[in-house]
Symmetry: C2
Subunit: 249 residues, 2 copies
């Protein structure tokens, strides 16, 4: 079923007004007709089964049939922080962590980042928002992931104070066969997790020290060296596994 994310203003009474690219998508890409079924998700994560009522030139009007019960959101709010790297890699990670259920994403300028904050255009945030919307519709999310503005390392440490649990993937811990991640996740009773993975060259020892001082836990993601685009996917997959997959077969 095709799902569209809309703002709360687009919903009133029993109708949803679809605008812009989504209107184009329904009319010209999907070539849908009045009477056909789609889903609309609001900003609070409610999803509604709808029927197309009218196709106008600039808008499509949907009639809400009923609110759907199914919730596909992770029980934990997980924000992936990633060492600032080139945009194609950021975008690929972003697309996949949406599928894997992340609630937030932030790029952090780190010592070994090949791309620097001063050269990282904020204009990319619009493109990232579009990626999030598309991936959320395809993976049947209830809520849109939040993309935070690219940040420096100091501001990131400040930001981390808003989370119940802060983790960072540190390959030195992986090499030392210190794999505490499972214990930490299994004992977690909070709500929000911030999970930092490094840029291409990894997290520097100085950064690791700062992270430790700010209440982060260093964790290994297995004994092999993961590329910077793979580590966030590992993190999200095992968080989903721990939080969502039942123990009973």
């Amino acid at each position: 079923m095709q799902r569209y994310f809309v703002t709360n203003q687009q919903i009133s009474g029993g109708t949803v007004i679809i605008l812009g690219n989504d209107c184009h998508h329904i009319k010209n890409v999907m070539r849908m007709q009045p009477g056909m079924a789609v889903e609309a998700a609001d900003e609070a994560g409610n999803v509604y089964a709808c029927i197309i009522d009218q196709l106008a030139s600039n808008q499509v009007i949907l009639k809400i049939e009923k609110k759907l019960d199914r919730n596909t959101e992770l029980p934990w709010d997980v924000t992936i922080a990633m060492g600032l790297t080139k945009f194609p890699k950021q975008e690929e990670v972003l697309r996949r962590i949406v599928e894997l259920g992340a609630a937030g994403f932030v790029s952090v300028e780190m010592a070994r980042s090949v791309l620097k904050l001063a050269f990282a255009s904020e204009g990319k945030l619009d493109r990232m928002a579009l990626i999030v919307k598309e991936a959320s519709e395809q993976s049947l999310r209830n809520k849109l992931l939040k993309v935070f503005p690219i940040t420096g390392f100091k501001s990131f440490l400040e930001m981390s104070k808003n989370f119940d649990l802060c983790l960072y993937a540190y390959e030195e811990r992986g090499k030392a066969d210190d794999f505490s991640l499972k214990g930490i996740l299994q004992n977690f009773s909070g709500r929000s997790i911030l999970f930092l993975t490094g840029p291409e060259g990894g997290i520097s020892p100085q950064e690791a020290e700062k992270l430790d001082q700010n209440g982060f836990h260093a964790v290994g993601l297995g004994p092999r060296i993961l590329r910077c685009e793979t580590a966030p996917l590992y993190a999200m997959a095992v968080i989903s596994y721990e939080a969502e997959l039942k123990n009973e077969s």
Copy 2:
């Protein structure tokens, strides 16, 4: 440390002979000199700390210093089978599952595969072998993943008889919140796992029935819909998590 995979014939006595692309890589890319340290991995998964002894025009001769103890291989032999899809997606999955520790990879022509076996050039296998070698060197694997020739569905069912545990990711099970994967992995006492994920359009109900008849277990990978390139990464990450990450923090 730079690692090179070599055949057993390239090792004799206490020396390793590096040829071809690897010779070019040491001399012209890394610009290494005699006396510098590299690692060589043989076909059995042994890794040796070596010193560059001589740089000749067509070969580099290494002197073995010692055998390294560290083993980064998953305790389980996991082969990822993936519904045949376009090559860039296959290659991306291949690169990442090498990092995540997979022992084998096979593309399977399935009912909803957009690419068909008859049009899937076997010439791609050479390129895939190169990807495996590069990714194995970067992620510090001990052994090279085996790429099987692209196969039809019937031959795949035959092939599955060689594995202790056969799983397939079925989104209908995810939608039904039936998440038996954790229980299955936690109770697994065998050695080899075959894990099938579908092509873009997913696994057909007819194929699911055949898989069930052939001893496969259908498993859900969480409540969201994963793209065909994401599902194998989820599978490998949670297998690593279950098999390699200790419970004690």
